[in-house]
């Protein structure tokens, strides 16, 4: 019973962070800011869903932890390589805007 309540709370936690990530995708002004929102917040949201699922069905816990570990490794790498690719494209096309001079904004 208490596990079900905890699992429901973790689902709502993860769903909240996914909603925040999507709102960030829509409302933030700049490509690197949007990358910040999607790369960090969505990973936390996925982890909330995974932990909630593991509490609800304990025999699925090893697969869910493997999935979480995989996303923990690949989501920052994907964000980083999107930022690097965008910056290389800007330099190649010679359109240096003011937003491209914040190298720490894109993780």
């Amino acid at each position: 019973m208490i596990l079900e309540v905890l699992s429901g709370l973790m689902f709502l936690f993860g769903l909240f962070f996914l909603v925040v990530g999507v709102v960030g995708i829509i409302r933030l002004p700049d490509a690197y800011s949007r990358l910040h929102a999607s790369g960090k917040v969505a990973t936390v949201g996925l982890f909330g869903i995974l932990i909630g699922g593991g509490l609800l069905e304990p025999e699925l816990m090893p697969q869910l932890l493997l999935l979480g570990l995989f996303f923990l490794l690949t989501a920052p790498a994907a964000s980083h390589i999107i930022a690097v690719g965008d910056q290389a494209q800007r330099e190649r096309e010679g359109m240096r805007s003011s937003s491209s001079e914040q190298p720490s904004a894109g993780d």
Partner: protein
């Protein structure tokens, strides 16, 4: 618990629509690419919720496959927009 899982499922499907809007309207290529990457993350979370809702544990491995293919695709397209070729 089934009601909560259904609400989470429907909300995540609705969350894919703004990501699709960003992938359609995004001013730069990086916007489209990160929107599609976020859609893939949402799809993996959706597969986990579907696995719990239908009690089919095999769907968790579908989520793992979606994550792997999404990462490879993101890396390939990002290298393409950076250098003009994939390899």
């Amino acid at each position: 618990m089934t009601t909560l899982l259904s609400v989470v499922l429907v909300t995540m499907v609705l969350l894919m629509l703004p990501c699709g809007w960003r992938a359609w309207r995004g001013p730069t290529t990086a916007d489209r690419l990160l929107a599609i990457d976020l859609i893939a993350t949402l799809l993996a979370a959706l597969m986990v919720v579907l696995a719990l809702l239908f009690e089919q544990g095999i769907l968790v491995e579908v989520a793992l496959a979606i994550g792997a293919l999404s990462f490879i695709g993101t890396v390939a397209i990002s290298r393409y927009i950076a250098e003009g070729s994939v390899f």
